[in-house]
Symmetry: C2
Amino acid sequence: MIPKQTVNMTDVARRSGVSIASVSRALRGESGVSAATRDRILSAARELAYVVSPEASRLSGGPTGRVGVIVPRVDAWFYSTILAGIADEFDTVGMDLILCTLPTSAARHRFFEALPLRRKVDAAVVVSLPLSARERTRLDQLAVPTVFVGGHRTEDHRPWVGIDDERAAQQAVGHLLRIGHHDIAMIQAADDTDIPWATDQARIRGFHQTMQEAGLADPTVVTVKWSVDGGSHGMETLLSRSRPPTAVFCHSDEIALGALRTLRRSGISVPQQVSVIGVDDHPAAELSDLTTVAQPVREQGRIAARVVLGGLGDGDASGPPASVTTLPTRLVVRGSTAPPR
Amino acid sequence: MIPKQTVNMTDVARRSGVSIASVSRALRGESGVSAATRDRILSAARELAYVVSPEASRLSGGPTGRVGVIVPRVDAWFYSTILAGIADEFDTVGMDLILCTLPTSAARHRFFEALPLRRKVDAAVVVSLPLSARERTRLDQLAVPTVFVGGHRTEDHRPWVGIDDERAAQQAVGHLLRIGHHDIAMIQAADDTDIPWATDQARIRGFHQTMQEAGLADPTVVTVKWSVDGGSHGMETLLSRSRPPTAVFCHSDEIALGALRTLRRSGISVPQQVSVIGVDDHPAAELSDLTTVAQPVREQGRIAARVVLGGLGDGDASGPPASVTTLPTRLVVRGSTAPPR
DNA sequence: CTGAAAGCGCTTACAG
DNA sequence: CTGAAAGCGCTTACAG
């Protein structure tokens, strides 16, 4: 006879001398089990390395023990760092993480039409994804608690964790103004799809607003693809002007790194001739001595995970965090910015 | 809230006037259902917008439709890129990806002792993890097809996808030798745990071997922590010698980037005074004009996914023949290497 | 506090 | 080709 490969609840029940009903109750931490019985059951479960079958549990009306995490892509610093924060938290409570990446618009379309997560997860975390009305409706049809992290908060007060992108832009531009720059341009990034990423819009809004408050009307903005090369091209465009700016606010560090590359290749010294500042505090920013506005990325993932777990009743004793969490950003001055000459 | 979907197989059976057994067979495309019956069932299912319950299906002996992916951490370029490749492939076949990260030794220990993936996945992909005998045994107890990707291939001929790290080192050092360097040092990286990462060992072996074949005995090697800062310190150590090398082979691009930082800060020009080469072709390598030996990372993930999906049809874990795929690495010459002066 | 029993929605021998 | 029935491993009223 083929040896049974997995230990089930019956095995635990037998080993601890109780019924499976009691095992089920004890394992889920329900009341109505005596301390002695509970201890016996828990140690039997430990000894047998028992794992509840999510299928059976779910089929009987219990939770799946899984949370879906939906992320545009995973091979980019920001997303993978958020994901790491989420995974950290899930790990501590034994929640399984089902990863959904939507790298192409085809994948994205497929995801929202087929809803592959349906009936498979207890909750969902959506990272940085601006959703159409249709997509939001489909997501609702998952019928599970959902929290959004990164990107821009929705208008309809859904659970959200992120930063204030407008404020981040303000901090960056404020720094440039404070050290004496007036001629400040922005290299703005846009996704190559036509999706309106709220992050992008908020950062440029912050730029314009801060400039306007400083009495500097109509600052130069060039819009490029969201990539290092995009940043390079953006800076090339700025340098081709009759009078290039003395400082450049870049939408993000990746854009800024591209801008720095162009400046280096053009033999223009940073920060003596041009100051450059980004947003994010990407690991490469420190390497390139780039001044930036740091955001706590991993922490955003962590908090989002806690919020979503809290919504499931698994939160800690202090209760679930506020449903909308805005984390602070912080100016990090390095060597790429200095007063204009 | 959206009305819960309650259409089950019984509803489809009733509507098409057959038993649920026939519905099950027809829906899974099994033979043994007449064409007429099948058509009737399929259209009934379509009309009711029926979706099979994965839980019930699995509980009755079907597959889970999930694969576990085990990765040391996800917030690092190499791992997240492999993961992206895996996710790409899984997406095309509708396989769900359960992500397990083992960022700390505690998490790692917990994972192998509790085996949280047990009974939850049809297969597993293990990324870059050197395993102890104990850990390997535990992994076997998942009793599912498992493929290893990245890191070094195991000696016991398990399915594996990766590169030849010895050859990569050889390509890097060969380049330095070819352009005329004799005084070549290596900055070697070591994990801060005591786990013997085969990748590390293979790269240093490749270094020593290539140097020896060139008649250059006892080259200098400094061992540092596997990080950018580690690379920085490694280079500081080399510079403190009475006669620094003219070229440095770095264990990886991250190490090399740290080394470049130290050189820049020390006012030593690259490649005029010192040549630097890395391994990986990390995105930052291009930005820093770093010569390197590129490895196809995303492709490794893709192939591993295909291998593991391919193994799923073959019944039990012992069935499919071990597949070993070694992908080629490629020298990418940029501006950080030049003949010695 | 504890257990026997009825499902949950499927798949799969086993019989016709 | 088709169906009745026995599970799969849980959760949860319902009784004691």
